[in-house]
């Protein structure tokens, strides 16, 4: 066992979840390596401090005695549940659109496609129509888009070009998704939507929002959007109002349940070219709002 092995098994060792044989191997290495020994001692101390720090602070606080009374009062004004989940959610949306959160449905859609990308990666190698290799495209994206580089660096991945990539078609000739995949875990780290005509980056979604969701909503079943509904949203959310004022066109919406069990009520796409806006409304709030302007990706209100 060497230093790298010890680092990899560090927490299994500290948590005492190794087999006696493995544990003995670690101990044997620690007896001869002062650097690793120091590292193990440091992490053990950090673990101890975490437990003490969290428990010490939280143990002294207690929940408000008024919580139950507030909950009861809120339950009392709620009507019996005799409407469909969609109707309830729509009602909640109109009543409660008060905040913008930062998990755009757009990313969730991309997340679904990520799963497809992994399958595609295993089964075949895909190429952009222009004939660029995945590696070349990844390198180009890493070099040319500082936003992507910074976001990936924040995630701890400094060398984009070293990651596995897959290019996925999304049913539109003018756009492809490029998936950056961790070669070790095979988990998607980032998904970048690329305009295949001018190779501009349309949007980027990073790690967390791409890893769990396996939904691929079909826009074929979408229903036309109620204009009044959108105006209600615009009234409660200035960002939506701003985009509508700019003359964006609503192209559709859909309704489905994510793999997390969240009910996603709607997706709006305000196209073409300059605008791409996605909204989702689980639990009655605007969950995500993305606005893409040319090469610049703007996360509204983030």
């Amino acid at each position: 066992m060497n230093c790298k092995d010890v680092e990899r098994e560090l927490f299994d060792y500290l948590d005492d979840t190794m087999s006696p044989c493995e544990q003995e191997a670690v101990k044997s290495h620690l007896s001869i390596c002062t650097i690793c020994r120091q590292k193990v001692e440091d992490f053990a101390l950090t673990q101890q401090e975490l437990r003490q720090g969290l428990t010490g602070f939280v143990a002294r606080a207690s929940p408000s005695p008024h919580n139950w009374a507030i909950i009861e009062a809120r339950l009392a004004v709620q009507k019996p549940n005799d409407r469909s989940l969609l109707e309830q959610s729509m009602a909640r949306i109109r009543r409660n659109v008060t905040q913008v959160r930062y998990r755009p449905l757009y990313q969730k859609v991309i997340a679904g496609l990520t799963v497809v990308a992994i399958v595609v990666t295993v089964c075949l190698t895909a190429y952009l129509p222009q004939g660029h290799s995945n590696k070349a495209l990844a390198t180009e994206l890493a070099r040319e888009d500082p936003g992507l580089r910074v976001m990936m660096q924040e995630e701890g991945f400094s060398d984009l070009a070293s990651l596995e990539t897959a290019v996925v078609e999304v049913g539109r000739e003018d756009m492809r998704y490029v998936h950056f995949i961790d070669p070790e875990t095979h988990m998607p780290l980032a998904v970048v939507a690329v305009n295949t005509k001018d190779r501009s980056v349309l949007s980027i979604s990073i790690n967390e929002t791409t890893e769990n969701l396996v939904l691929i909503p079909s826009l074929e079943g979408s229903e036309p959007l109620d204009r009044q509904y959108l105006l209600d949203l615009a009234r409660d959310n200035p960002e939506v109002g701003d985009i509508l004022d700019a003359g964006a066109v609503v192209t559709g919406w859909c309704h489905y349940t994510s793999s997390r069990g969240e009910e996603v009520i709607a997706e709006l796409r305000l196209d073409e070219a300059e605008w791409l806006l996605n909204l989702s409304f689980p639990e009655g709030s605007v969950k995500g709002l993305y606005k893409n302007l040319g090469k610049r990706t703007v996360i509204v209100n983030d």
Binding site: L45, Q48, L50
Partner: protein, 178 residues
């Protein structure tokens, strides 16, 4: 169609799990007032969605844990969320009957350590913070954390390891020791 739980069922669940929800939320948010708001939201959701809850998937406790973590993270993402301040730690100290100005050295030192740990935790982003809280405060296994956060086991471990490296750097490199 979503079935709602009755008032008595909600009250029973509240009695059983509200303390847990509050503690988890407080550990994530570092703010009692916001943690109380989260508890209220959590049990409103339990009321709305509990009738459809599938008990086979880990029981109400795991489900309420999951809602609490998600709700707390959602609150933390808002712009006005802030980390625990040193004054708040002192205020918490005075809650247990020790005036901040009269604290003995060792108690003050313990307070300072606690404060610095809390600050280091606060500096983590939500995805790492939730893993750390569930691991070192709720003392859950990686498998249980994966179930609650609904992420793969490997992701839990990688988030845990990354968070621990960040915390270790923060707490060790400045010579802070117990």
């Amino acid at each position: 169609m979503a079935k709602q739980l009755g008032r008595e069922e909600i009250e029973a669940l509240y009695c059983q799990y509200s303390d847990m929800a509050f503690r988890i939320s407080l550990a994530i948010l570092g703010d009692s007032e916001k943690a109380n708001d989260v508890v209220q939201e959590v049990f409103i959701k339990v009321h709305q969605l509990g009738g459809n809850f599938n008990q086979d998937r880990g029981g109400f406790k795991a489900w309420i844990r999951r809602i609490t973590v998600n709700q707390s993270i959602s609150v933390r993402r808002r712009k006005d969320s802030h980390c625990l301040s040193f004054e708040m730690v002192e205020a918490e100290g005075s809650k247990i009957g020790i005036p901040a100005s009269k604290l003995p050295d060792e108690v003050l030192l313990a307070k300072e350590k606690e404060y610095r740990v809390q600050q280091a935790i606060c500096a983590l982003d939500e995805k790492h913070l939730s893993v750390i809280v569930l691991r070192y405060f709720e003392e859950l296994s990686y498998e249980e954390i994966a179930e609650i956060l609904q992420i793969p086991l490997g992701t839990v471990k990688s988030r845990h390891n990354k968070a621990m490296k960040l915390l270790n750097k923060e707490l060790r490199e400045d010579g802070f020791e117990l």
